[in-house]
Symmetry: C2
Subunit: 338 residues, 2 copies
DNA sequence: TTGTATGCGTTATCAT
DNA sequence: ATGATAACGCATACAA
């Protein structure tokens, strides 16, 4: 391994001089600096991140936290998109990324400890149970964090615009003549609460009376639970004409149930999802859904985090909202005039 | 930050003693060791990975390389599945994972330099252009590597069984009565060569004559190019009755083209994909395809790599083959007797 | 403009 | 069984 010591010997200068030259310090003569840089390149010198981290207390490494417990594993398209954009943005700014998890090998650590152990300069909390004490500990610590789809007090966060998204969906469905709209929602997180409130508010604004049995609880990204709720909705004396699902993946459970009962989409039942993952647009009929700007969310998260890391003095917590886009798709039938 | 120095003061012993006790050295008395461990826990001590890496030359960190140039970005289901299982297995064995890329911030590095810079103990090369000199440099270096779906000489690798997979597909299609089978293949990588050879060999074994214009080049994970090749196949005087696609995602391009021409699947044209990603089984009709054991491949890759890292003496390069599974799906029509 | 000295937190070697 | 010491590679305060 080539170190600054090797370079200093080769150049006949001290290690301090080499270090300064390599870091572009002002108090090194042009020629010396050039000579040093040239031999560094010739020797194939690479800085040692560990030594630097030890010395500086800065690792140029940011943690990314995907807790699979919530079903938000990396392999879900929505999250892998976010991961990809966080990675791209962070790398562009000179930061590597490392996954933060519980329990590394036989050491048992919580998230905060893991991040500390790796001297992460900050952590993007991309998907997690925000009630988990371990998450709260991390978000309350001195480590800079940015959360996605949840806001901790005095912390930065990137929020998908759930209120507007749900409103757009309901208005769209309504515009196609639907009046009996059911909503299968996910676990009662803050995201769900926003969507629920927006659903009710928009329905009220449109003069729709939604019977309580049209609003049903399920689990995000779990087709099975949404399938069961679909069955329950179909068993009602007065069926809805359209069902909104917690997310695109959950819709697949509903799709199976409708298939099983021989009902066609959207002929016999209109449906809509949420997320707008690529999968949804590959289905036939194309799913009506609301696309969340995952890519932009990831980028912004990385930017906000690194900004906080690099300018801690002037930093102020921010809640950024990223807008999505209605994908009309083909699963909401126009029933006006029927 | 709590360091071993703090513990040594609290316990009235030397730092060396603390270090030994914490690492379970034999030459520390039971009671001292216990006292040290207890106060370490009480003080909330965490080892510092950077210091340890600097001292030991081991980082307990492994790199994962997904070069997006090949279109194998993390957000592709096949790769995100692999990433997830590499991560899970590595973490279970006490290793963190870091993405290895070219060009971190304004430093320009190649893959090898990036891995060195972060003192990675090893690298899983999950998706890459294996002709890229930068990849070759990494795989020829002193850093332990495991490649997926490609073998470098004297290196470990995990291979999906492409020969058997293609054979299974062709035999399945043949068993349904198809004799005019077209194959749209990806770029000419070693994987493609195996699939192509297996395709031809199996066809020959079955007594099928495949005209050269039935074998067409496209690009992996690129629906567009497969769509164009589909169009070309449909324009032939003698159309095939079944088209094999480079992968499930590429099939989507073919699907669109068939839709556009008003052809039904599998009524007017039978098709099959490759990979068996979850998406393929959510489509209607369900795609006939061959599922690659991504999860197992990731696990094995991590195991093989860490084995090599931890027992460099007894290590021998291995090529492990992971078998997949035929998913019959509903896109290959039974045309026997027509 | 350059060099000297020191320490970041850890572990390994060698004394005691 | 325990401790003193040095070293890993780097950056910085300070001296020259």
């Amino acid at each position: 391994m080539v170190t600054i010591t090797d370079i200093s010997k080769a150049c006949g200068v001290s290690r301090a001089t080499v270090s300064k030259a390599l870091n572009g310090a002002a108090d090194i003569s042009q020629e010396t600096a050039k000579r040093i840089r040239d031999t560094a390149a010739a020797l194939g010198y690479l800085p040692n991140a560990a030594a630097r981290a030890l010395k500086l207390g800065r690792s140029y490494n940011i943690g990314v936290l995907f807790s699979d417990a919530t079903g938000g594993g990396i392999s879900h398209e929505y999250f892998s998109r976010i991961l990809e954009s966080v990675k791209a943005e962070a790398e562009g700014l000179g930061y590597d990324i490392t996954f933060i998890s519980k329990d590394l090998g036989r050491m048992s650590m919580d998230y905060y400890e893991h991040a500390k152990y790796r001297s992460c300069d900050g952590v993007v909390i991309a998907s997690a149970d925000f009630q988990d004490p371990a998450i709260i500990r991390l978000a309350s610590s001195e480590i800079p964090t940015v959360t996605l789809d949840y806001s901790f007090d005095s912390r930065s966060s990137i929020l998908s615009d759930n209120v507007r998204g749900m409103e757009a969906l309901v208005r769209f469905v309504h515009s196609r003549g639907h009046r009996r709209i059911a909503f299968i929602h996910g676990e009662l997180t803050s995201v769900t609460q926003k969507r629920l409130a927006s659903f009710k508010k928009t329905c009220a604004a449109l003069g729709l009376e939604i019977p309580p049995e049209y609003i049903r609880p399920a689990v995000y990204h779990d087709p099975r639970s949404s399938g069961l709720q679909t069955r329950a909705l179909l068993a009602l004396p007065q069926r809805p004409t359209c069902i909104l699902y917690p997310d695109d993946l959950s819709y697949l459970g509903g799709m199976s149930e409708l298939e099983r009962q021989g009902l066609s989409i959207p002929g016999d039942m209109s449906v809509a999802g949420y997320d707008g993952i690529p999968l949804s647009q590959v289905l036939r009929p194309r799913l009506s859904t609301y696309r969340q700007g995952g890519k932009q969310m990831g980028r912004q998260a990385a930017q906000l985090l690194i900004e906080q890391i690099e300018q801690p003095e002037t930093w102020i917590p921010q809640q950024l909202t990223v807008e999505g886009e209605l994908l009309e798709g083909d699963t909401v039938r126009d029933i006006r005039g029927e």
